[in-house]
């Protein structure tokens, strides 16, 4: 750990901090409006469009991009790839914060957020995939929280508690993979009930499989993306192991992502064949579908492969960004763009600026909390008291 930070007198008013401050203030104001004037005052939600940006982006994108936690811990603890060990804690942190923010965002969207526990404690709508999503997300958030606590406990010097939790790692990892498989796929399965509203090119009985496989891709790419940003802004917090393993992580995860993208591409084509919907490809929506499939699935698959073959770390990092954007595009397509495609354009939905602002607010809160934790707790470095005890 470098001593640079001690000698530099950092002013709190960095450009990012000023931007974050403004966002926090606006976000707080909109929050008050939401809970005093209702959803009508801050959203463009309507009877035809009951789910908007907060579901399409905050929930669907948020959950898929937080998948790095289960992917990385599975790779290291189940598949035994110890050389990626330094990537586990940042991935778990990103995952934990991601899911926590999803639950936070949900409080804005549902009509009566204080009733969110009702499906568990009052009445169970067991035929609903949303019930399944809710149960799994709640359980998984708990698992992620527990997986995160060793870092906090090391920071607080709670040695005994920390050691107990670390012994649960194997169990928590397996639970994490089971729960992640379930809720990642169930988010896709939510749309199975509305075949008359989702465009045939995106509607498929394979939606749950598509969501699960693409969540693995999202997780791998987010780990790379987050590590790129961390290296840029928090390099002084990284220890030797972290820096040394970094290239290996980049090449390894890039290779895995390339492979999974290839599989994903294949099953998407198979889905087209099974539903015999080729003729839709020549329509406007068809062009958009191909844009997503070729530009954000096939292309990153190829770029990752080239980057791995040439050991081009920079290319892999940029491809990770492209892939992350592709996952966001896919989730927005399914929830907002290809959804309700049958309605006339006058009845289509576009988010209110306040909805967009709330989403930005939530992301900024996430970044600020991430920054706090990463600069104070042993995420990017191993705590000297606990070296080699993972």
């Amino acid at each position: 750990m470098s001593e640079k930070t001690l000698s530099v007198n950092k002013s709190l008013l960095t450009p990012f901090n000023i931007f974050a401050g403004i966002v926090l203030v606006i976000g707080a104001v909109i929050t008050v409006l939401r809970f005093t004037k209702g959803l009508a005052a801050v959203t463009n939600l309507s009877d035809n469009n009951p789910w908007g940006l907060w579901i399409g982006f905050d929930l669907l994108c948020g959950v898929s991009l937080a998948a790095g936690g289960f992917v990385t811990s599975a790779a290291v603890y189940i598949f035994g790839m110890k050389r990626y060990h330094s990537a586990v804690r940042p991935a778990i942190l990103t995952g934990f914060l991601g899911y926590a923010l999803v639950v936070f965002a949900l409080h804005y969207d549902v009509g009566r957020p204080w009733r969110l526990p009702y499906p568990f404690i009052v009445q169970q709508g067991t035929t609903s995939l949303l019930f399944e999503v809710g149960a799994c997300v709640a359980l998984y958030l708990t698992v992620l929280f527990i997986e995160f606590t060793p870092a906090a406990m090391e920071w607080l010097g709670l040695k005994k508690a920390r050691n107990i939790v670390v012994r649960l790692t194997m169990l928590l990892t397996i639970f994490g993979v089971v729960l992640s498989t379930l809720h990642q796929s169930s988010l896709g399965a939510l749309y199975l009930i509305a075949p008359s509203k989702l465009h045939p090119l995106w509607y498929s009985t394979y939606l749950p499989v598509y969501f699960f496989v693409s969540s693995i891709i999202a997780g791998l790419s987010m780990v790379l993306f987050e590590s790129t940003l961390s290296h840029h802004y928090f390099e002084d917090k990284m220890d030797e192991t972290h820096l040394k393993e970094n290239t290996g992580v980049t090449l390894g995860f890039g290779k895995a992502a390339s492979l999974v993208l290839a599989g994903y591409f294949t099953i998407k084509i198979i889905g087209l064949a099974i539903s015999n919907n080729w003729h839709y490809l020549t329509t406007g929506y068809g062009a958009w579908f191909l844009f997503e499939l070729l530009g954000f699935v096939a292309l990153p698959c190829f770029l990752y492969a080239v980057g791995v073959r040439d050991k081009n770390v920079k290319l892999i990092r940029w491809t990770a960004l492209l892939t992350v954007l592709g996952i966001v595009l896919n989730r927005l397509n399914i929830s907002l763009i290809a959804f309700n495609w049958q309605l006339p354009s006058s009845e289509r939905y576009f988010p209110h600026w306040m909805e967009i602002m709330v989403s930005v607010f939530i992301v900024v809160v996430g970044i600020l909390v991430f920054r706090f934790i990463v600069t104070k707790m042993p995420i990017l470095y191993e705590h000297p008291d606990y070296k080699d005890t993972h």
Binding site: Q124, T126, T127, A135, L171, F175
Partner: protein
Amino acid sequence: MEGGFYTLQDFMTFTKGITYLIMIVSLCAITGFWLFLTDRDTDTQPVEHHKAEHH
């Protein structure tokens, strides 16, 4: 009606409810079973369970 259910909806509510309970129980059970199975994995020597002949 089959098992007292008039609609598929009611039938599925019941069966999925039971299934969820089974899932919770089985997750706990398989955890216990896994611990039972891997309890003595740290032992390096296989234990002899038959009486060895003494010369």
